[in-house]
């Protein structure tokens, strides 16, 4: 019996000793950096939710690299004997990762917010630009290259709006930048062209005043053609009697410079001949005295200055004729009316009737405001 008690005592002592040893072993085991790592991971995850991987890529990548370094070091330490493990480096990397992730998150939030505002403004300004292009230049003769750029820019603009509404702001920004480049460049080109077109406005104004004064003084008919609005006015004694829609040369913007440039000339002319019946292929026609002395002098000066090649020839045989009503500027430089309108004009004008062709009756500001 005594022997049994002794055995129990020894066993109990052994168990207590082992438990104590185990407790001591546990007590002195290095504490793994689980808390720090969890914190770093949670912050990284938050940063990703804030789209830091897209909008603060550099900081986010750094945070991720630090986290990965912490993991690598953790694994390395875990391979050592349990009491020889040191987690300081792991903690340091985890801490750096969390700090960078916070920075990335903050940066992403502010970048995203700024980008959204910037994009919204860009969209609004491009929308206005598109409306300006449509209003001012939809029927203005621009080169096919510029037309293509405008069309491409408009589609890109629509695409960027779709992408923006999906919340893909970086992609929207890229597309908007491309659209902005195409549209702004086209608008600037077209505006410069338009501005250049209107640079002779004061001269046109003088011509109109002279034409109307003469019409009043002579109590006779005068014709004024406004190229920009495609209006054909007939005045009698200084009072407007008729107003028609005119169609011009395919390349009507600017004054006529050479033969074959498809431009409708600007100047004060007179009717020199009337054609009808078989003498014209355009139903009825009124020949103008283009080129007049002024046109010839300007042409010579352009040749001398070298702005026109020596082989260039001056144009001629500019007419007001029928066959119009096509809804497009199609002539080679003449002014086309419908046959019905041509009948009216043909009946009331005579050889010598003044025909003043101007770029516009109103100035550029008024055109833009309209």
């Amino acid at each position: 019996m005594r022997k049994v008690w002794r055995g129990v005592l020894i066993f109990s002592a052994l168990a207590v000793s082992i438990s104590l040893i185990v407790l001591l072993l546990i007590r002195f085991t290095p504490k793994p950096p689980s808390g720090e790592m969890e914190h770093a991971r949670e912050i990284l995850s938050e940063a990703e939710k804030s789209k830091a991987d897209t909008y603060s890529k550099k900081l986010y990548t750094e945070a991720k690299v630090f986290y990965d370094s912490a993991m690598v070091n953790w694994r390395k330490e875990n391979k050592r004997f349990i009491y020889f493990r040191h987690y300081e480096k792991v903690r340091m990397f985890a801490d750096l990762s969390a700090k960078k992730a916070i920075l990335a998150m903050d940066n992403s939030i502010s970048t995203l917010s700024d980008l959204k505002i910037k994009l919204k403004q860009k969209i609004e300004s491009l929308r206005y630009l598109v409306s300006q292009l449509d209003d001012l230049f939809n029927t203005y003769p621009l080169t096919s290259e510029i037309r293509n750029r405008i069309s491409k820019g408009k589609i890109l603009f629509t695409e960027s709006e779709i992408v923006y509404n999906k919340g893909q702001y970086f992609q929207a920004n890229r597309k908007l930048t491309d659209a902005e480049y195409l549209l702004t460049e086209s608008y600037e080109y077209a505006s410069a062209n338009l501005k250049d077109y209107f640079k002779s406005y004061s001269v046109w104004k003088r011509w109109v005043e002279r034409t109307l004064t003469d019409s009043k003084k002579n109590r006779d008919y005068s014709i004024i053609i406004d190229k920009f609005s495609r209006k054909f006015f007939i005045y009698l004694g200084g009072t407007k009697k008729y107003e028609f829609e005119a169609e011009l040369g395919k390349n009507w913007v600017g004054d006529k410079r050479t033969r074959g440039d498809m431009a409708t000339p600007e100047g004060m002319y007179k009717i020199t001949k009337k054609f009808d019946g078989g003498s014209t292929k355009y139903y009825k026609a009124l020949l103008l005295d283009y080129p007049n002395e002024e046109d010839k002098a300007r042409f010579r000066s352009e040749i001398e200055r070298g702005s026109l090649p020596r082989t260039a020839r001056i144009g001629g045989l500019i007419e007001i004729h029928g066959n119009g009503g096509k809804g497009v500027d199609w002539t080679e430089g003449c002014i086309a009316l419908t046959d019905r309108e041509m009948d009216v004009v043909f009946k009331i004008v005579k050889v010598g009737t003044p025909v003043t062709i101007i770029g516009s009756m109103v100035d550029l500001k008024e055109v833009v405001d309209k």
């Binding site: 055995g7 020894i10 052994l14 168990a15 082992i18 185990v22 085991t29 290095p30 793994p32 689980s34 790592m37 969890e38 991971r41 990284l44 995850s45 990703e48 939710k49 993991m71 953790w74 875990n78 349990i82 029927t139 037309r147 293509n148 069309s151 408009k154 589609i155 629509t158 695409e159 779709i162 999906k166 992609q171 495609r230 009697k241 008729y242 107003e243 028609f244 829609e245 040369g249 033969r259 074959g260 498809m262 019946g277 078989g278 003498s279 014209t280 292929k281 144009g315 001629g316 045989l317 809804g327 497009v328 002539t331 080679e332 430089g333 046959d339 019905r340 309108e341 009948d343 009216v344």
Partner: protein, 230 residues
């Protein structure tokens, strides 16, 4: 004496058992990682980004938990194993969801592409019927350039579709569709107004001062005049 030795051995065996009872569930880890890679290949980051990020985050948490257990004297991988099962199932679901979403987007691209092509064709036909009053033809010319740009955009969308980048293709084809539909509406309105009023829409109103009654138009066209300088 024999009993003492046996008891000592039992105690040592118990300590050894307690300290090595957990083994890293490596097979499950590998399987889950493979499922995540499969989800990535299925473009889960593009088609189901939030769910995919959640799976990746869950895996990161598991990897950290494994290291935590590895650092302990008495390892316990049971709960991790359960988490791995859940993450594996989630990764597989994300992969299949991504594939389904991709298919859905693909179908949407195909449908929109067919629709936009039909609209382009319709627009081409409508252009022939559209009024050509004052500036009408000029507006139609501008529309033709827009239509050419739309067709180019559809071709670009087709190229993206062929490359398998359906999301980008969808954005492009949707923009083309919006533009083509805009032109379609404009053309239909113009034609409708002409039918209703007998007047061109793309063409603004006629002059305020009307011309006097015209003289009768000659029945036959005169002979053409020879080419002239202009």
């Amino acid at each position: 004496m024999k009993n003492k030795v046996l008891m000592g051995l039992a105690a040592i065996a118990m300590v050894a058992f307690l300290s090595s009872c957990g083994k890293v569930p490596q097979e499950k880890i590998d399987a889950t990682n493979a499922a995540i890679t499969a989800a990535q290949t299925a473009e889960a980051a593009v088609y189901v980004p939030a769910a995919f990020a959640a799976v990746q985050d869950s895996m990161k948490a598991i990897t950290a938990a494994v290291e935590v257990q590895k650092g302990k004297l008495f390892k316990k991988f049971g709960p991790i194993s359960l988490k791995l099962d859940a993450t594996l199932a989630l990764a597989q679901k994300v992969a299949s969801d991504a594939a389904a979403k991709k298919e859905e987007v693909k179908k949407e691209v195909e449908t929109t592409m067919t629709a936009v092509k039909a609209t382009i064709e319709e627009n081409t036909a409508l252009m022939k019927k559209a009024p050509r009053g004052k500036e009408g033809a000029a507006v139609l010319e501008a529309m033709k350039t827009d239509m050419a740009a739309i067709e180019a955009s559809v071709a670009e969308a087709q190229a993206l579709y062929d490359k398998g980048t359906f999301m980008d293709a969808l954005n492009k084809v949707k923009a083309a569709s919006e533009k083509a539909t805009g032109i379609n509406t404009e053309l239909k309105d113009a034609i409708e107004k002409v039918k209703g009023k007998g007047k061109a829409v793309v063409a603004p109103a006629k002059p305020a001062v009307k011309a006097a009654a015209p003289a009768a138009k000659p029945a036959a066209k005169p002979a053409a005049k020879p080419a002239v300088k202009k």
